[in-house]
Subunit: 606 residues, 3 copies
């Protein structure tokens, strides 16, 4: 057993003589695993009443005969044209209220009974046919779930979802604070999906009612999860054991992967970093993916060997970078290294997307050589890293609800972005060489000495108590501006800011100042540097906390920007402003040093 | 009697124990006036057949019992959900042609018979119930009227409005110059609202037929005025005397407040300046609001004590600024100083909008302290400023028709913006310390020594004669580039530019040059500085006027940029290009000096 | 016979006393030709059953009586309102799927049977009535054909067009590579127009299936061509000889003028350059227009004497520029010099568009004087240039298919724009003083010594062989990055890049690097300068070619950026990166020098 190495393989696009060449090239590159069938629905079900596995049979047989392993897709990642024509309601209605017609992928309404029935049946047919084939090492359901639908079927499903959540309209009206702007709902059918035609202005982040939009985000994530679960259940009818996954997309805002994770047997994700200098970002995403299932390894399901095609500008991965990033994935917990795609398609929107084998079918290219070299290295490594876990003492909390709530909020600042705040702290930890877990807010925190909770806008359940427990037993908890603002319904806490985090932080915030990116307020750190702060500046009134950094400008000069509060045996840290990289680094080092959690190789250049 | 001080108060969002705390805090802050009921429709009419004033009764009773004064809203600022569901046609159809569903506020079609009937009945019910309550000092109809609808009901109402305006299609075709591009209408029902689906491209300012778009702007302003008048009439059935108002939004393009003003008993407006350096702009807007009803005082109906929430970046008002700006309002004619809002709402899009009392309910915050200090100052002032008028000798003309016509015009330049031109001249007058009235083009000009008419694109009725009369008796009239171009139908005058202003200005303009903002043509002023001019450069051929400034660059070097024409006992000034602040200031000082109208404290720093 | 001089004339907008003034002014300006009737449909057919030529008769009679020549329009450039109301399906459905209502111009669905029938009948009526009038020297069909429709009628017509092109769904599925993303079509009616509701994202250039979008572009160009041909055939029923044209718009992407050209008796175009420094661009466009009909002269159908109105900023043409550019047109092959417009319209979106006669009707303006001076010059010239041809030895290929394919492609770079690449090479040739033909890819290349094929993304038919023939007999062929990538269906060639151009170029390209505009890779030219390269960098592996330029930066430092391959008696040149003006100039001079094709006056300042 070795790390699965290979990637997406679509031989149905080619005549069979090409398949022969493919396998010769796979051998040369030590490719032992292929993902097949991702977009085969139109072929495997050419009409409503007909399933036809002729081609898929031949592909699977040939791959197995060549000794390769298979990650077999259910093939429901894109609708076939006949289905969209026969049942127009399976096509999505977009945020602008426009019912789409056939095209693209990610194109099905998740609430459509026809789509749910036919996609489930497709998974059932595939599983029934290929279950037991020893080449199959994983099932791949759908593909990169995402997007959103605003159709009447989804509206009805949303109302059901709300009924289950709130039971009564009284509770719903309270949760959404509908008295504001005369929105009191007196019938469930008065509720509409929040869209450009209803509560929104300017776009998906600008809503009159944050509570409605937040619940729709949760609902839509759940609706697509139901699609995944439908298919998984159908697979399980025929195959009770082979692991089932779907490919995630890292920090992908529309889907709360934490709510999905329990339903996957292992996580997997597609890594398309925006540019050559994304190492820190990728490190974070790998940690996030590893944190989905409590530290369990994940698969790197897709990466390009060379370039993407969908961006305005698609730069080439520099020589050596693909290898470096593949090993980074393994080091962070990846148990598979797979490419999209093994052979470049001839036409349509990915014909210029990088591939292991290009249009000319050559093996004497730089890209193929690098792929083959990595294949040889992984073969040599064998299975030694498979299943390995690396539990850490430092946790970073990541929370889709806080992400959504912060970014759909009107005020204080649209410029404060959740990912940027979290990434800044993770990056500083990474630079310090610390081992880090990225975990959901309901994770078991008892194993951590240090917990970072950047921009933890929403505080749910007993989280505040559990954070207090960390500090109480001698740990350190760090949070920032715009944390502790709202409850699970996105209603403000009726207490001083930072709400339930106040006792742990030992501070109170009455007001705050948002400014454009051109404005800098320097922050003088205690026995440390003077650093820049930007975008948001909370005015902190200590309620017991010590001041470790102060603003140097504006009418609040000299007031606290960074505080530390002794709590039990430990501390609560509060960073009230958007510090620059040096500032965040200083805070992080202070905290790590106390616990001796800096890594052995800090400050290695990227 | 003292200046009403307080603001928007929405206790229906809170349990009654909070109300008690509210009033204690209002006492501490010398708050004596509250606006209640703005968004209560869903509560006061929970279904088609049911009115329920239980909550509003308790609020009004409590406020009155506490000795406070009430500005009572009719509550029609946002539809209740049941109404939108039962009568989908009450929801607006937007510029893109999309019929909306329930959401937001400002969401009713002004032409919908159901909306008109039910909103009027709501006002009638409220007035009937509370008329005679001595605490009520004003009625507040609707809220921040605005937006536009493009539905079929509005199309039909537009055709009726056109029928009343033009009587025959012949006259309509002539007014719209429909022979151009084969647009001759042969039936009233062929006329469509000008939208993204009909005459427009790129957006609301880009139209193929300026005349159609201009008339639709007028119609829509009138349609919403009819909504206001419906409600006012219903109030008057029960209460013949208490003044009725609605809150305006300053320089708000969609509504011609000059056409509305006669129907309000007093004007009021909501002041949300874009940033900390808006003093000059606010001075202008206060003057505009005071000019709506011939110098009669107005109310400052809303301002934030600290920050807004709806902007991308919502900075904090610096300490002292709220006080300074409140006094500025009083000095410019405000007879009330009110905040939005007294207590911050818990949820939805204004939960981070500033409030006198925040989520924690504290009175020991900086913001509350400043509010209380201003309350004490206003209490000490008493009623001494109430009803005061400050007639001026300098008028600035402001004209919605010119604003619309200029900004929907194709050519010469989309970069010339009406507000910027008018503000530049008002600001120079303000810097010079002059007392200024901002008045409509049909105002009585006989009281003014100096009249500024910047960017007076449209010249209607006998305006040219009345301006000539000002100059004839020794006054000064100043106008600028892009003035005197079109008649009331937006058809070009078939004379030399500047049309009917030509004789007074003593010039003729055959051509003009529009340039990007990066291009500067220096203008040498007579015995004055060389200043920058930008965006638009008219080429002036004097027909009797003296040249007081000349271009210094391009092929028209040495030709006139500023002229002054002796006319009767006075002068007509023409500024042919977009001068910078120094240049506009120089012109303004020349004019004021002749009339000794500079103020006693010119050039005070902002 | 002299060069027709005059322009668009719309006297139907004015009372007849103005016509008298018009003709006096035309005489003064030596205007001898007018285009009439372009937007007269509403007047000539005021209702479904009625044609009324009263006004047009008087206009034509008067113009003829004054001794002027007429370019007579069929008048179908904009629908009349009654037609749009009676047959809503004649209004276009836009890319967003919105059926429009009446408004604008360019507003008819080209597939609508009603529009086709009525517009053809309109042309028939006009031709029948005025054929034989000796004043008429040309027929002007429609006006500036363009735009696109996505309605169900167009969908049906598209399917018919596809049926004619592909015969079977098997061939269509292969051409579009539908196996990718499960798009296999099993019924013709499953095919939808590619729009924002189907295959597109972000806009018209971002499509999931390039093949579908490419075919729709071809179809829509053909559909409007059918409209033109309908009208032309109706004219020919009454008038077998007078030439028929329509006014093109230069490099206008939506219409493949090469496919239209055979159906026009002569080409004509409207020249509205973006700014004062467009000489090189206009030179190219004139050459393109002259190349449409194999070098035959064309008409300059429209230009403004002063300014446009539709741009954000509409600068004034400097004195002398209108004259200079008119002579440039004549030198490049124009056989007519016409303005839009002779008299400025009073209202609507072109009231500020420049005109020979302005609103005041003056002849003592600078613009009128310049028009009259040019009129006198052209009168003096007489007919000496009419029909002149200037065959060149240098060809630049221009190809709408390559333009479309390149710009709808996902990857490598959205920043590489076809026009910019082609213009860069043409400009360098123009700077070198060469005579240039701009020709379609199916032109006879046997007459050229040098052929430039910049960004020739698509290589169709026997083009590669014909280019090889040019080099084989001693000529030079130059192509660039992103050439030779796809076949006629937009499917990648299954060979090394640059596909069928590989043997001629003697190179192979395995990979490429796209970068933002801020990144520069210097290219060292052989015995030449070091120049900047930007945006796209192909990595070239010579297969026999000589290296004439190398990259100076990045991991591919020292590898080829410019190559020259000896082929037969001549050469194939390949420029692998986006060189700057100096770099392109160097390549062009190297090539021209070999053939002694530089002009006598190179490097004249613009
Ligand atoms: Zn749906
Ligand atoms: Zn309406
Ligand atoms: Zn159509």
């Amino acid at each position: 057993m070795r790390i699965p190495y290979g990637g997406d393989y679509n031989p149905e696009q080619w005549p069979e003589e090409v398949w022969k060449q493919d396998h010769r090239l796979f051998d040369a590159a030590r490719i032992d695993t292929v993902t097949v069938g991702v977009f085969t629905w139109a072929r495997t079900q050419p009409s409503a009443d007909e399933y036809d596995f002729t081609t898929l049979d031949r592909i699977v047989e040939r791959v197995a005969a060549e000794g390769r392993r298979i990650c077999l897709a259910t093939g429901t990642g894109a609708l076939p044209p006949w289905l969209a024509k026969a049942h127009p309601e399976v096509n999505r209605t977009d945020f602008e209220g426009r019912r789409h017609r056939y095209g693209q992928r990610h194109n099905a309404c998740p609430s459509s009974p026809v789509f749910r029935q036919l996609s489930t049946e497709m998974a059932r047919q595939v599983a029934r046919r290929y279950a037991g084939n020893p080449a199959i090492i994983a099932w791949h359901v759908g593909n990169e779930y995402g997007g959103a639908c605003y159709c009447d079927l989804c509206a009805a499903a949303f109302r059901d979802w709300l009924g289950a959540r709130y039971s009564t309209l009284e509770r719903l009206n309270a949760a959404w604070n509908t008295t504001f702007w005369s929105h009191t709902f007196t019938g469930w059918d008065e509720i509409e999906p929040p869209s450009a035609l209803t509560e929104h202005w300017r776009g998906p982040d600008h809503t009159a009612f944050q509570g409605i939009t937040l619940d729709y985000l949760r609902f839509m994530s759940d609706a697509m999860l139901a699609n995944f679960r439908d298919e998984k259940a159908a697979i399980r009818e025929a195959d009770p054991t082979t692991p089932v996954t779907t490919n995630f997309m890292g920090m992908y805002r529309p889907i709360d992967y934490h709510r999905w994770a329990a339903h996957l047997d292992f996580a997997s994700w597609d890594n398309y970093p925006p540019d050559d200098t994304s190492q820190a970002r990728m490190a974070f995403t790998h940690d996030l993916m590893r944190g989905l299932k409590d530290g369990q390894p994940f698969w790197l399901m897709e990466q390009t060997p060379s370039y993407t095609a969908s961006r305005d500008v698609n730069p080439l991965k520099r020589p050596g970078l693909m290898r470096l990033w593949s090993w980074q994935a393994v080091a962070h917990g990846a148990d598979a290294v797979l490419f999209f795609q093994l052979r470049a398609s001839r036409g349509a929107c990915e014909k210029y997307h990088g591939a292991v084998v290009g249009h000319a079918g050559r093996s004497d290219t730089r890209v193929f050589r690098e792929v083959a070299e990595l294949g040889a290295e992984l073969e040599k490594l064998g299975g030694v890293t498979l299943g390995a876990r690396t539990p850490a003492k430092v946790a970073v909390l990541f929370d889709w609800d806080s992400w959504w709530a912060l970014e759909i909020s009107d005020g204080p600042s649209r410029l404060v972005r959740y990912q940027q705040v979290v990434l800044a702290y993770h990056r500083a930890l990474w630079d310090a060489g610390a081992d880090i877990d990225v975990v959901p807010v309901d994770a078991d925190l008892s194993r951590y000495d240090v917990v970072f909770a950047p921009a933890l806008h929403m505080v749910k359940g007993d989280l505040a108590e559990r954070l207090e427990e960390v500090a109480g037993r001698g740990g350190s908890v760090v949070t920032t501006f715009l944390s502790g603002r709202v409850d699970e319904d996105d209603n403000a806490f009726l207490t001083d800011v930072p709400g339930p985090l106040g006792p742990l932080m030992g501070i109170r915030v009455d007001e705050w100042d948002a400014r454009g990116p051109e404005f800098v307020n320097p922050v003088r750190l205690d026995n440390g540097p003077v650093v820049d702060a930007r975008l948001l500046f909370e005015l902190v009134i200590p309620q017991g906390a010590d001041v470790l950094g102060t603003y140097e400008a504006d009418f609040y000069t000299g007031t606290p920007a960074v505080t530390r509060n002794a709590f039990g045996q430990g501390y609560g840290w509060y960073v009230a402003a958007g510090l620059d990289e040096v500032g965040v680094g200083w805070v992080v080092r202070q905290v790590l040093d106390r616990h001796n959690l800096g890594g052995p190789y800090p400050d290695v250049p990227d």
